[in-house]
Amino acid sequence: MHTEKIYTEYKKFNAKKVFYILIFIIILGIIALGALLHGPSSLGFKNSFAALFKETGIARAIVWELRLPRIIMAILTGCGLSIAGTVFQAILKNPLASPYTLGIASGAGFGAVLAIVFGGSFYSEYLIAGSSFFFAMLSSTIILSIAKLKDPSPETMILAGIAIMFLFSSLSSFFQYIGTMEQVQEIVFWFFGSLSKTGWKEIGIVSVMIFVPMPFLIKSSWQLNLLATGDESARALGVNTTKLRMQGMVFASLITSACICFTGVIGFVGLVSPHIGRMLVGSDHRFLIPTSALIGTILVLVADTFGRVLWAPQVIPIGIVTSFIGVPFFFYLLIRRTRGYW
């Protein structure tokens, strides 16, 4: 009798996970539609909906050129940061890891600071994005080289990451110190994170950088599962742990850098979504990666919509709102949890 039961229980367990993923897709759809129809402009709910199908006019421009790109960017960054966070937690075997653990955000921040302070006549949105992407990738390259030189253990990587973080933060502070008032203001604004300057071109670039590495990370899901049980076990079960860890680092850093180079640092999402996901669907990365991607997407989208609507016409930067919404929710889960972990 037991045999059948174990088998069906496992199947049910997995069916439940697929169910969660479907539910989240539906929720995301509803929220995205809601975000599209709400905004600081005087455009009402009905008019916004009608504007979706119009050929010309201001209403159409607001919906198609301002709101929609913003919503898509929110979805992309939420998804990218959460996937990167999940992968970093798996390969570093550390539940505290996030897309920013390895100093990638401070690298990106320093890049932005450099562009803002020394951009001069070349100064543009793209210069900031390019520079921050370059420095974000530079920090992860430095960590990879140190890991390769010494040993590719999670401890080495995390320690190297923390060192890099301090290096770039102090450099950023130094240039803020010597920068002008306007420059400093712009730097502060960049560090809050914002989706307000998003256009279709940026969306195109970010999508490519997120969706090209993604299949690889999803393909390694099973191997990432094994990594959580320890390197020795994973190796004895046939995983090349060094290769997996290095590749995971490269792809997750690439996704993170792509997300933050246009939007600035959006905190907390990449740390918390994998945990919420794990609580709901467990640690099987085949289900965890899509689930935490959807959770992150929903979190960023809700935060951005709140930020736009709450104090309209003032817009609160997204980086501030994500933590405001995310932290109480995270505390709630933390207190409510029954098992040792999730």
Partner: protein, 281 residues
């Protein structure tokens, strides 16, 4: 047959293993004994492909296993670590399913699931199937790790201190279960052990290591002798033979010079004799 030939492992200029020659036959249980730090675990890890020895070879049949892909090696040799803490929550079913990894690309097949169900049943772990691995007791965890290795379906099963965390009952249960499995399914098991009594009772052959080298090899009663225990462990012991089962009673620790016992001429002789015994078995 699995053959280890001339295996050497160094860690930062320090010799951990030297001149290791071992043969493991099908359907036998081989125990590796020796004091702490003699390289028992390192030896198992070398064979399991977890770490790479600097010198030597090891082969199954005529195939050299050092050149083989890690995934293919995992289809032939499984390894049960002393413990396997999981950083993130997994169920017992998922833990055992991980044993099927060498055969899984992205998604476990129906066959994989069936095998896991059978293994859980075989090890009487059905009731734990959907429990969280971290919530189990030490003995149950150990059984799950063994179940994972059994699900891996390999000819050779390597286990590092399988009984170290277990109470008396679980020790016997696990040793009997593995012994049973080895005899009925024509696989081989290699244990790294501390418990001389359990080792002598359940092993077909024993390899005794001393400071990274093989001190002697043979049947339990040839290897576990008062003399060998004195030399290798530095302990005076009494051994009783009760119908072929050895009982070792450690009496007193002895002070000895801190030299490698293998270089002592008297011991060389004793060791040679043991090898002779082993050959005439």
């Amino acid at each position: 047959m699995l053959k280890v030939h001339g295996l050497e492992f160094k860690y930062k200029d320090r010799d951990i293993l030297k001149k290791i020659e071992i043969e493991i036959k099908k359907g036998e249980i081989l125990s590796i004994l020796g004091p702490n730090g003699t390289g028992k675990t390192t030896l198992l890890k070398c064979i399991a492909g977890i770490i790479k020895p600097q010198k030597g070879s090891f082969s199954i049949g005529s195939k050299n296993m050092l050149d083989i892909k890690r995934n293919d090696l995992a289809k032939r040799i499984s390894y049960v670590p002393q413990s396997s803490p999981s950083k993130f929550p997994i169920t017992v079913f998922e833990a055992v399913l991980m044993g099927r990894s060498p055969y899984i690309m992205w998604r476990p097949s129906e066959k994989d699931l069936k095998i896991v169900v059978n293994v859980l049943k075989f090890l009487k772990l059905e009731e734990f199937a959907s429990k969280n691995f971290e919530q189990l007791s030490g003995g149950e965890k150990q059984k799950v790790l063994i179940a994972r290795a059994v699900a891996q379906d390999t000819e050779y099963l390597l286990m590092d201190e399988p009984t170290s965390n277990l109470d008396l009952k679980h020790q016997l249960e696990i040793m009997e279960m593995i012994s049973n499995m080895v005899k009925t399914q024509n696989v081989s098991a290699v244990f790294a052990m501390h418990d001389l009594n359990l080792a002598s009772r359940f092993s077909d052959r024993i390899v005794m290591l001393s400071k990274g080298e093989i001190f002697c090899t043979g049947k339990p009663e040839q290897v576990i002798t008062v003399e060998n225990i004195k030399i290798v462990y530095g302990v005076n012991a009494t051994i009783k033979n009760n119908n072929g089962v050895l009982y070792v009673f450690p009496d007193k620790q002895i002070n000895r010079q801190n030299s490698n016992p293998i270089n002592n001429p008297n011991i060389k002789k004793a060791q040679a004799e043991v090898f002779c015994d082993a050959k005439t078995e």
